[in-house]
């Protein structure tokens, strides 16, 4: 039986005839932070999307918390309710206030009463320093603030796993820091995180393990010091020399 929190085994994903994931094996333990790096188009987003069943795999299995989520008898909504996702472009709901964005899943998916949900939502907003914006609408917030709210929305229901997909690449450089600080804080509190990022410096700081993806296969993985400083594979070396210049 799988003892990892997330266990991906031989996952294949094709778009039409074009294979984007060519047999991925990857596991993430509880409280571990794993960072996916790789060139644009290497399949990082696709891999994250197969995990919370926004894409259906064409082969292989994915276990989340011991449950095979690729089994067609498994309810997708229930799986997604236990996984937090943050997107590159925040995707906050523009017609809902900041607080409603954060409490929506608590109330409508997990059936938490409105007062309790609001209390929890406010506490969360307080933690990310945005309690004063609770009743504002997302378009009144800066990009960095919106992304922090998106993270709060994703963790409001205490998901077992957090998937972060290039959550800083739409942000101005001076706003990146505040979002990454929040991720560091989540790591310290024991969240299990699988994230795709182009921020190599951040990967070095926060990752327990770095995974290098190319053309839909995992080329190399290991502790950040090893992968980022002394990669074995020439492809990893080439990628790193390009992104770090």
């Amino acid at each position: 039986m799988p003892e990892h929190l997330l266990d991906i085994r031989g996952v294949v994903k094709k778009f039409d005839a074009n294979p984007v994931l060519r047999g991925i094996d990857l596991s993430v333990d509880a409280h571990e932070v794993v960072v996916l790096i790789g060139a644009s188009g290497s399949g990082k987003s696709t891999l994250l999307r197969t995990i919370n069943l926004l894409e259906r795999v064409d082969d292989g299995q994915i276990f989340v918390d011991g449950q095979d989520v690729t089994d067609p008898r498994v309810k997708g909504d229930a799986v997604r309710a236990n996984i937090g996702v943050v997107f590159q472009h925040y995707n906050l709901f523009p017609h809902l206030s900041v607080l409603s964005n954060v409490t929506l899943a608590l109330r409508k998916v997990h059936g938490v009463a409105k007062d309790t949900a609001n209390e929890r939502g406010l506490a969360l907003l307080d933690r990310i320093g945005l309690a004063a914006k609770a009743n504002d609408y997302p378009d009144r917030l800066s990009g960095g603030q919106q992304q922090r709210v998106a993270i709060a929305r994703a963790i409001a229901t205490n998901p077992v796993l957090l998937l972060l997909d290039e959550i800083t690449s739409a942000l101005d450089p001076q706003l990146v820091g505040e979002v990454l600080d929040l991720v560091t804080e989540l790591k310290e509190q024991g969240s299990t995180i699988l994230m795709a990022t182009h921020e190599i410096g951040f990967a070095r700081k926060v990752a327990d393990r770095v995974v290098f993806l190319k053309g839909g296969v995992i080329v190399e993985q290991g502790p950040p010091a090893q992968i980022l400083e002394n990669p074995v594979e020439p492809e990893t070396q080439e990628f790193l020399s390009r992104v770090m210049r």
Partner: protein, 295 residues
């Protein structure tokens, strides 16, 4: 215009008083506004005067005025036409509710994905295509005279009920298309974000997609509503005694057409508030979308 300094309760230094330059600019803008107001007022009065003179000097004006704008007939026909209008209003209220339900269903069905739903999508598409292409008068005749001919009911069905059914059938097709356009204008990432939180397809639609879609198409929906408001008058062709039918009955007695003018004015008065409201909402939406811009 006071130029007291704005006190900074937020920890920032207070703003300096408004500069003389800015005060001068404001003064100039106000004068410009007043000037434009007078110019447009003057041209409107001039235009109205010209029309009045042309009308009054036309050869048939005397007769036209007596047959269409006779004050005696105006007031005497008013109560009956008003009573008819109440029927129009009742039909309108019921139809709007019917249209809201049927159109939302149609639009939701048309935005379902997946091969399983192809037959449903196809039916909904066929329905909207058919009814958007058919003139409302023909739908009205087919329902109004066709349904009773089927003979399901022993007693005759009320013409107003048949008219309501025809209105709902026809307008649902239009409104469904407007709603669908709105649904498609909501970025797909919004649906993905909703599903990622564990919301079901139905919940994502009703809590996330539809509210945003409605905002986007509010002006178009209100236009459809205004046009429905006057199309309720067409139920008179089925024999329902509404405002137009009441006017027609009165005209048949006196050969004076003033009651039609009364009915017409009532319809205008009915729709006018909504037309203004539609304008106001569109303008507000446009302002919001170009927030901050001066042009």
């Amino acid at each position: 215009m006071t130029s007291a300094p704005v006190t900074g309760g937020d920890g920032f230094a207070p703003l300096p008083p408004v500069s003389a330059l800015e005060l001068d600019r404001r003064h100039f803008r106000r004068r410009q506004t007043t000037k434009s107001l007078f110019v447009s007022l003057g041209s409107t009065v001039l235009f109205a005067t010209v029309i009045a003179i042309v009308l009054a000097n036309s050869p048939g004006w005397q007769i036209a005025r007596d047959t269409f704008f006779n004050p005696d007939y105006f007031w005497s026909s008013f109560p009956k036409v008003w009573h008819g209008l109440l029927l129009n209003l009742r039909v309108l209220v019921v139809s709007v509710i019917g249209v809201a339900i049927v159109a939302t269903l149609l639009a939701s069905i048309r935005s379902l994905r997946g091969a399983v739903f192809f037959p449903l999508r196809f039916l909904a598409a066929a329905y909207t295509d058919l009814f958007r292409g058919t003139p409302f008068l023909i739908v009205l005749y087919l329902i109004g005279f066709g349904v009773p001919a089927l003979g399901f009911n022993d007693r005759p069905i009320d013409a107003a009920v048949l008219g309501t059914i025809a209105l709902v059938l026809s307008y649902s097709a239009y409104v469904a298309e407007v709603l669908r356009a709105g649904i498609e204008a909501v970025h797909p990432s919004q649906r993905l974000a909703a599903r990622s939180l564990g919301l079901s397809h139905y919940r994502s639609l009703t809590l996330i997609v539809l509210p945003q879609a409605l905002r986007k198409v509010t002006p178009a929906l209100m236009n459809d509503f205004v046009s429905m408001q006057k199309d309720v008058g067409l139920i008179s062709v089925l024999g329902a005694v509404d405002a137009i039918r009441a006017a027609q009955n009165l005209t048949a007695l006196s050969y004076n057409y003033t009651p039609y003018v009364v009915a017409g004015l009532m319809f205008v008065a009915l729709s006018w508030p909504f037309i203004r409201l539609t304008d106001w909402i569109s303008a507000r939406q446009q302002r919001r979308e170009q927030m901050g811009g001066a042009v």
